[in-house]
């Protein structure tokens, strides 16, 4: 079956792209070949006064390149050739003697938008599904079918860099404002408007495009000095954001510059050369793996495939505990899942504060124009609260988010069970208490499940879903699906102390404490991890998490896993000095009006250490990272995560483990178990038995197996 069909309307060729057997349109070799033939035929057909591209898919124009095909690229030359072919194809469109119009509805991303860029006129629908942009850098590559060269010519260097370097997509109105498309119209008249544009352009010729508006625009985009400034600023910003770990944005920057300064042909050459390099680079490989992992997780309900369940559809949420977590869960659920969320707390003042905090999440979106005023008003009305359980009877999912206290949580579960329907899901939001203990004594333990949200809930992309032994599949599936509707990547975790994320985080944070006690300066510890690729270092992270919370978690972990996790003396000393971290403005760092302002030097005296110099940054890095890696290996062997995929995604989304390293398990696979064991043994000799390699690693070193590849 062909992917393209042509129909004629008023002597205008309407080309419908509808990739057979796929939910979305994407560009691959086969499609490209067919497309090339089509363009050649159309070129020869003088009866076609203009060409209009539309999509046959309901909600995508073209989602981008076929990424599966990407992974099969073996060499740089192969990748370069793919890019060159794509560029030539786009040139066929751009150089088409008669007007070509893109009629865009739905996702128009990557190669899809590069095709639209090659067209002479772009019309998009105003539907929320319509998203336009070049997202290639997110996969560690750059737009490679002329996008790096054409976009800056269309909308100016500044705006183009903004889009390409962040890999961002824009909504229709913004795209129109930026000049990415020429018109935005309701979906109902897209085809009509496109045909009219075809008719008009066929008579008047292709549109002449002006320069970016305004004096500033002219100075920055059109003068050598202005451009110099633009590129310098962009480079600085990229380096700040990526720490130099991600080469794609820098490559894009170069290509955009060459395209603007040395002309189209030079730009395209640079584009396919750099793409070739990047496409087979380890960073891109990792990012593509993560892309596939998250895509797979979007379809993974957390139970073995083929399990027959009919999970409850979640329309109403009841949340007990309107504090920091409860209110953020409510606000995020309302925002992303558009469910009713009812907060319950012991007194109305607390309920009110919780409602305020939840509403704040919506207000923020309104301020950033992610919500219109009517949308905001509708969502706010989904939030309500009470000091009793009114409104809980018909809740489909209730989440307790009260203080981390087993007796209290059990009491709340009992109260909830008295209110809700027998098949409603009863979730507990905990980071330290085993779910089976919370569920013990429940009338229906089979619908009790753990939901471990990360703070701040509205920003953190991960959700750990923790069934205990008796939790039934419908509850698991219902919870996972709801977590996804909340916009989270949900991974199903075994009910084991610390679950996954806190389990591998605990020894890492603890090692930071040990380093501190040895006199390693705080900046040095944090800098080493920033260089490794973490967004924040472990000491700063402790301040963020809250030292009281970290202390409690450390005790639980020590109890569960013994000597290996003997807490350093640092946190108790900090707590004695009433230092809880950012939340009370006193931590390892100084906070001025909520802003972190350098290390608090008094901490060293408090800990009774002198910050030393001459520490080996590499040794600091190894100690911190290998504590985490070793723990990950142990937890993996205990079946805490269902797959290496889940483990890596959890670490990347939950802790900010550097994505370009692919996650802790992937990193060990890349190093090889034997080398990991060697390093751990060296560390154990130098620093103590807590570095003793996990038995699983020893076994893997024997067999040569990996976490991802299996035995």
């Amino acid at each position: 079956m062909p992917a393209f069909t042509v129909a004629y309307d008023n002597a205008i060729a309407v080309v419908t792209f509808d990739l057979p057997g796929e939910p979305v349109n994407k560009l691959n070799r086969e499609v490209m070949r067919e497309f090339q033939e089509l363009m050649t035929q159309l070129r020869a057909n003088a009866g076609a006064r203009a060409v209009v591209f539309v999509s046959g898919k309901p909600d995508t124009f073209i989602a981008g390149a076929d990424i599966e095909e990407f992974t099969r690229l073996k060499t740089r030359t192969e990748a370069e050739a793919l890019s060159r072919d794509g560029q030539e194809l786009m040139n066929l469109v751009a150089d088409f003697p008669r007007p070509v119009i893109a009629a865009i509805h739905g996702a128009c991303i990557g190669g899809g938008y590069e095709l639209a860029l090659a067209c002479h006129y772009r019309i998009a629908t105003d539907a929320p599904k319509t998203q336009i942009g070049l997202s290639e850098v997110q996969l560690g590559v750059i737009p490679a079918a002329g996008g790096c060269v054409r976009l800056p010519r269309l909308i100016g260097a500044r705006a183009a860099l903004d889009l390409i370097l962040a890999g961002r997509t824009e909504r229709p109105q913004k795209a129109l404002r930026l000049g990415m498309v020429d018109e935005v119209v309701p979906q109902s008249i897209l085809r009509e408007v496109a045909l009219a544009a075809g008719d008009r352009l066929a008579q008047e010729g292709k549109p002449k495009r002006g320069t970016a508006a305004g004096a500033t625009g002219f100075l920055l985009d059109r003068t050598p000095m202005g451009r110099e400034l633009v590129f310098r600023m962009a480079r600085k910003q990229v380096l700040r954001k990526t720490g130099g770990h991600y080469p794609a944005p820098l490559a894009a920057l170069d290509v955009v510059r060459i395209g603007l300064e040395q002309g189209m042909a030079a730009g395209l050459r640079a584009e396919h050369e750099r793409f070739g390099e990047l496409a087979v680079s380890p960073v891109s490989r990792k990012l593509v793996q993560i892309f596939f992992a998250t895509t797979a997780l979007r379809k993974d309900d957390g139970v073995p495939p083929g399990t027959e369940v009919q999970p409850r559809r979640i329309r109403r949420l009841g949340i007990v505990g309107s504090g920091f977590m409860g209110s953020a869960i409510a606000g995020t659920a309302v925002l992303n899942a558009e469910v009713e969320a009812r907060l319950k707390d012991a007194d109305l003042v607390r309920v009110g504060r919780g409602l305020r905090a939840a509403t704040g999440i919506l207000d923020d979106r309104l301020k950033r124009r992610r919500l219109t005023r009517p949308q905001h008003q509708r969502l706010v009305a989904l939030l309500s609260g009470s000091a009793d359980y009114s409104g809980f009877t018909r809740a489909d999912l209730v989440i307790e988010a009260v203080f981390e206290d087993l007796a209290l949580k059990r009491r709340v579960i009992a109260e909830l069970e008295a209110e809700v329907a027998p098949d409603a899901i009863v979730a507990t939001n905990t980071s330290t208490i085993p779910i089976r203990e919370i569920a013990a004594g429940a009338r229906h333990p089979e619908r009790v499940i753990g939901m471990h949200f990360f703070s701040p809930v509205e920003k953190m992309p991960l959700l750990e879903v923790i069934p205990h032994q008796e939790t039934n599949p419908a509850t698991i599936v219902g919870t996972v699906r709801f977590g996804r509707k909340m916009g989270k990547t949900a991974i199903v975790i075994r009910d084991h102390p610390g679950f996954w994320v806190n389990r591998i985080l605990a020894p890492y944070l603890n090692e930071a404490g040990v380093l501190l006690e040895e006199g390693v300066p705080i900046e040095l510890i944090d800098r080493s991890m920033a260089q490794f690729g973490f967004p924040v270092g472990p000491v700063a992270l402790l301040d963020e998490v809250g030292l009281d919370v970290a202390h409690k978690a450390a005790k639980v972990m020590h109890q569960a896993f013994g000597d290996r996790l003997t807490p350093s003396g640092v946190i108790p000393k900090m707590l004695e000095d009433e230092r809880q971290g950012r939340k009370n403005g006193r931590g390892f760092y100084v906070y001025h009006q909520g802003h972190k302002a350098g290390v608090d030097e008094r901490v060293y005296r408090l800990l009774g250490v002198k910050p030393l110099e001459g520490f080996d940054l590499e040794d600091v890095e190894r100690r911190l990272i290998f504590m985490m890696l070793n723990e990950a290996a142990m937890a993996y062997a205990e079946g805490v995560v269902r797959s290496a995929r889940d483990g890596d995604i959890g670490a990347i989304f939950g802790i900010g483990f550097p994505a370009f390293r692919g996650g802790p398990l992937r990193m060990m696979d890349d190093l090889g178990a034997a080398r990991v064991v060697d390093t751990l043994r060296q560390l154990a000799t130098a620093h103590g038995p807590r570095f003793t390699p996990a038995p699983a690693l020893l076994a893997m070193a024997e067999t040569g197996a990996g976490f991802h590849s299996g035995p």
């Binding site: 009713e340 003042v349 009110g352 305020r356 509708r378 009305a381 989904l382 009470s386 009114s390 409104g391």
Partner: protein, 428 residues
């Protein structure tokens, strides 16, 4: 029973009633209405898909939401397919909304209806003078900057003084207070009698608040920038009010010979109240025990130039006749208190032969037993958001009828335009 149907009052709630310009100063009326309706849905745990219609009332409409009922029915807790309309029968508005709901249920056009009312006198439209409006219109139509400036140049300082809608009878120009003053004089209601009545209203409302009966009808309001200024009670009730204090207040409408003061009148108030009504069979099918059933209702009107607030003198006997019961069978009464002078005038009219003759009634309606009337106070203490009061009265009456296990109860309301409203509820 009409048409084989009886109409059940299933539940009712209201926001706190607050003196205008206090806690709801920055809250649009529509927000109060939506808040009350939404909380009623949660408290009754009803599935929003069961609601057939929303009827709301508002006496002073908001310019931006002229059909406030539709904004209520567009709550996300309800399907968007629930139709809605807004009515106005002055101070009897919410009672009328309930009455319309009952009609539709009786006619089998609906099974479940939300009916209520909202008023915010903090949110009233301020009008420009006609002259100023005309200048603005001319300016907006002007084709050149010069013409626009010329039009705006006609503005004089006095044009900028806004026109506030007064609570005055358009047909007579008499304000509500002046009417009450006139009734006090003509019916011989003394200042002391009025003050004593007002004091009783406050004392009973304070007791009803303290023992939780009134509070149970109120949905908490989360106010203030942090939403942590929580209001759960009405803010006009004065538990510590005394006769001496009331006696010190100066008459407002006739400073020399008058008796009507701010103390013995209902205050300008913001608030919303809403009631859930169902056919009796639907209520039982959904597992609700009705608080009470609607037995009858009647509306009357008199010449506004006569005794403006005397409508209940006619409406009450009419409703009793329709109910087929005698005054003496009423176990509880809720009488709207616009002014103490009005309540006492209505009471006088119901109880006297002379009034019966004057009104063309066969005989006196009956004497009010104050142990069974306004047992938790009334509008003088609790406040009177015009279009919400009717729903408050019905809710309070129905709840108290259940507590006292009373068979028949009466709501009586005087309304602007010389109208009177009465409704009889029953329990089986």
């Amino acid at each position: 029973m009409i048409n084989g149907r009886r109409v059940a009052i299933v539940a009712g709630v209201r926001t706190p009633f607050a003196r205008s310009g206090t806690i709801f100063r920055d809250v649009p009326a529509v927000a109060l209405a939506r808040h009350a309706a939404r909380e009623l849905l949660y408290r009754t745990e009803i599935d929003g898909r069961e609601i057939d219609e929303v009827i709301f009332s508002q006496v002073v409409p908001s310019l931006l939401t002229p059909n406030v009922a539709r904004e209520v029915s567009l709550l996300p807790q309800l399907p968007p397919s629930v139709p809605a309309y807004t009515i106005n029968r002055a101070c009897a508005s919410a009672a009328q909304a309930i009455h319309n709901a009952a009609d539709q249920i009786t006619l089998r056009n609906a099974n479940v209806v939300l009916a209520g009312g909202v008023e915010s006198l903090s949110d009233i439209p301020l009008l420009h003078s006609r002259r100023f409006s005309q200048i603005l219109v001319d300016a907006s139509k002007a084709r050149s900057m010069g013409a626009r400036l010329a039009a705006l140049g006609r503005v004089r300082p006095r044009d900028l003084v806004p026109v506030t809608p007064a609570i005055a009878e358009p047909s007579t120009g008499e304000t509500m207070g002046q009417s009450a003053e006139k009734m006090a004089k003509e019916n011989g209601i003394t200042r002391e009698a009025q003050d004593r009545y007002a004091l009783l209203s406050h004392q009973r409302a304070a007791a009803g608040t303290a023992d939780g009966r009134l509070v149970s009808e109120i949905v908490p309001w989360f106010g203030g920038a942090g939403m942590d200024e929580v209001a759960t009670t009405d803010n006009g009730i004065r538990a510590d009010s005394t006769l001496e204090q009331l006696a010190k207040l100066r008459p407002v409408f006739d400073r020399r010979y008058g008796t009507v003061t701010a103390g013995n009148s209902s205050p300008l108030t913001d608030g919303a109240a809403v009631v859930l009504l169902m056919s009796e069979e639907k209520a039982r099918a959904l597992g609700y025990e009705p608080l009470a059933l609607v037995r009858s209702y009647a509306v009357s009107a008199v010449d506004p130039g006569w005794q403006l607030l005397m409508g209940p003198a006619l409406a009450v006997p009419r409703a009793l006749e329709r109910a087929g019961i005698r005054w003496s069978e009423l176990g509880l009464l809720e009488i709207h208190e616009a002014f103490a002078a009005q309540v006492l005038s209505n009471v006088q009219a119901w109880g006297s032969k002379a009034w019966a003759d004057r009104l063309g009634l066969p005989g006196p309606v009956g004497e009010v037993d104050w142990d069974r009337a306004n047992v938790m106070g009334g509008s003088i203490a609790i406040g009177h958001p015009f279009a919400a009061t009717g729903a408050r009265l019905v809710t309070t009456l129905a709840n108290e009828m259940r507590r006292r296990d009373v068979q028949y109860g009466l709501v009586s309301i005087c309304a602007q335009g010389g109208m009177g409203y009465a409704m009889v509820l029953e329990r089986t």
